[in-house]
Symmetry: C2
Subunit: 411 residues, 2 copies
């Protein structure tokens, strides 16, 4: 019997979901229930618990600069352990099961060790294993290059393995199991009335992720969007019939709201270089120097003093990159003859995200009004088609989230 | 430039040799010195320290009967960790190096998981890596079946990987690094004057191994013998220019001695089933029943009481199999109408081994005389072409070794 993609479900279990024997057995039961409900299950699994950290430590005890090819070999063993242990647990429950490494599946990547990109996935081995009645467990995070070297996919790699497999298998859905039961309208520890979002678009999810909500890597979401893989974010511990958030294309199935969620990003530092002579290419010089050091810059604002003809350029970076960014800016300040560099470490970024904004005018105005009413000063603003972000003083970050959630998300 | 097999040395490092970062770095330096002396090095490595035990525990925490295919996947990660860490250490010392799994090399085995047999080894990948100037690290103990499943080779599997690689590569020598600096004429803690054997034949080594001397698995030795791979047993901690034992074919290079070594096997239990009616097929019945339970029987003696026509059959087993063997014998005793089953747990087996025996008459007589002079009673005797073994009361085991070593091995 030929399998249809719609019969297949791809599930992904992260490291915390398989961190010990009890958790592994729990995941095995969950997979078996899905199989018993008539689905053909392909489960992608990460390295158990802190395995990857321990392997990194082992490498560090040998050398501070491990060759990437060998580090990929070492790290790939974590997922192999996860997949074989999970297969044992499923076998113990009486089902047919087979585990496959990235190389055994044929997850072909380029040769960029530690950050390889998937080029092609061979589905034959998985499909024939499924057709023989097996549950198929696949090691996440890993692939194989054309010259038969083991590669890894970088941060969030197991999500990517799962999404890519769902895409090539034409699976109806890709279920991402994690330690939260879905995506929330805001952090419930900040906005008490925050609630789980039932359905959300890829674009909204991408903006939420870039605005500070964790859950899933942007790269996986982009692949899911490109191949229309419906994602379901779920808790590996909660009852599988309840909860979860579906990430999908923008269709009429989606509840029509203006703002889908409110996020707070506390890892922001505002840097300004003030009194820069107004000549072309200054901005390119500053951000070119920062990019050369791989410093990601978030919001950027340029303002000019009308009379003096001097400019101020402000932007935000994460705390981890502050030191290096400061050194670069201090150098540029002298070079350019700028007046001074100002750093404000105590700022937060609050954002509202929603595809409804596209068709609703005045959302930004409403946001600024809410903040003003709460006496929260706005230091920087940036907008995309479906997101508005404001940098506010750190002490007001949580208040801003509460007020915006009350205004846009609560009844 | 085409490599000649004689330029290649295969080295094998066991788990204790790579059990932590310091040991791994030590092995890396050793490999590099061999490479700098002009050799092309292929190093086979085991799982570091107690990794394999820990993986077995992980499997046990999931199920008491892990499917062998999945257990092989799990266990194979230990050697992958060993090989990638060792490759990192070699890279750190500035040499080109590449690690290869059993599957990457192309160590093709049958599909008997956990005890696979090597069918064929593809040398192309190793040779081209060597020709590119790499030191090649190969994961021991593992291979791949024709249907691309990971297999393991069973106990002593890394030795086997090394010997088989040396055979197909036509390597001049296969160096087995372990925690002793060679094979001794006897256990030095028993016979004070025991000394390291410089050269020994495969056959002698096989007999020594079966007579209780550890060091190397018989299976690897048989492969070495079949393919004339010269083995060198060495310590991974001692100066590599000193010590070691060469295991080789019987040639004129060998020192001519009658007895190469004396061994003591303390893991012996003597079992006797007495008063068995004398009819054909009785022995087959007894040893068939034991074999059906995979109980290895060592020495066997049948004696018959002249007047009664009743037989006694005695044999030895290891302590670990005593309980099951006893149950089988008790059943057979009733079935056969035998008189009784007698068990003596306090016996040792002392053996002398040497190819010189072939051409020297009277070696056995001399052995019995030495034991008699020391008032050591002989309970059982068995002989092969190059070995004579005697079972003696346990309390005399060490004395027997001392006396025999004095007689046959000391000046």
């Amino acid at each position: 019997m030929k399998l249809s993609g719609k019969d297949i479900v791809v599930q992904k279990y992260g490291g915390t979901s398989v961190r010990d024997a009890d958790r592994i057995k729990n995941v095995a039961s969950r997979i078996l229930r899905a199989a018993e409900s008539g689905k053909r299950v392909v489960a992608v699994v990460s390295a158990p618990g802190d395995t990857t950290d321990r392997l990194m430590e082992m490498a560090s005890s040998i050398t501070s600069e491990p060759p990437e090819r060998e580090l990929d070999v070492l790290l790939s063993t974590g997922e192999m352990q996860g997949m074989s242990l999970l297969a044992m647990a499923i076998h113990e429950l009486g089902s047919r099961v087979v585990s496959l490494t990235g190389a055994q599946v044929g997850i072909l990547t380029d040769s960029e060790h530690s950050r390889a990109r998937i080029k092609k996935i061979d589905t034959r081995k998985i499909l024939s294993a499924l057709e023989e009645g097996n549950i198929v467990i696949v090691a996440g995070f890993q692939g194989v290059s054309a010259d038969d070297n083991i590669t890894t996919l970088g941060r969030g790699g197991s999500d990517l393995s799962a999404v890519a497999l769902a895409a090539v298998l034409g699976a109806g859905v890709c279920e991402i199991y994690t330690d939260v039961d879905g995506v929330y309208t805001a952090d419930p520890s900040v906005a008490e009335k925050a609630f789980r979002i039932e359905r959300i678009t890829y674009d909204e999810m991408l903006e939420l992720a870039s605005a500070g909500a964790g859950v899933m890597q942007s790269r996986s979401m982009e692949v899911a969007k490109k191949h229309s893989v419906r994602l379901s974010i779920r808790s590996s511990l909660a009852d599988e019939r309840k909860g979860g958030t579906i990430i999908m294309e923008d269709t009429k199935d989606l509840e029509q709201v203006v703002v889908r969620g409110v996020t707070l990003d506390e890892d922001q530092v505002k840097m300004s270089i003030e009194g820069i002579p107004d000549r072309p290419g200054i901005a390119a010089e500053i951000f070119g120097a920062l990019a050369a050091e791989s410093i990601n810059v978030d919001m950027i604002i340029q303002s000019s003093a009308y009379k003096t003809g001097l400019n101020t350029i402000s932007f935000t970076v994460s705390h981890g990159r502050l030191k290096r960014a400061r050194e670069i800016l201090d150098g540029l300040e002298r070079e350019m003859g700028a007046e001074r560099v100002v750093v404000d470490e105590d700022v937060h970024k609050v954002s509202i995200v929603g595809i409804g904004m596209r068709s609703h005018a005045g959302v930004a105005a409403k946001m600024f009004e809410v903040l003003a009413k709460n006496s929260i000063n706005i230091e920087m603003i940036s907008t995309s088609e479906i997101k508005i972000s404001c940098v506010v003083p750190g002490k007001y970050g949580k208040d801003a989230v509460k007020a915006l959630h009350r205004e846009f998300c609560e009844e």
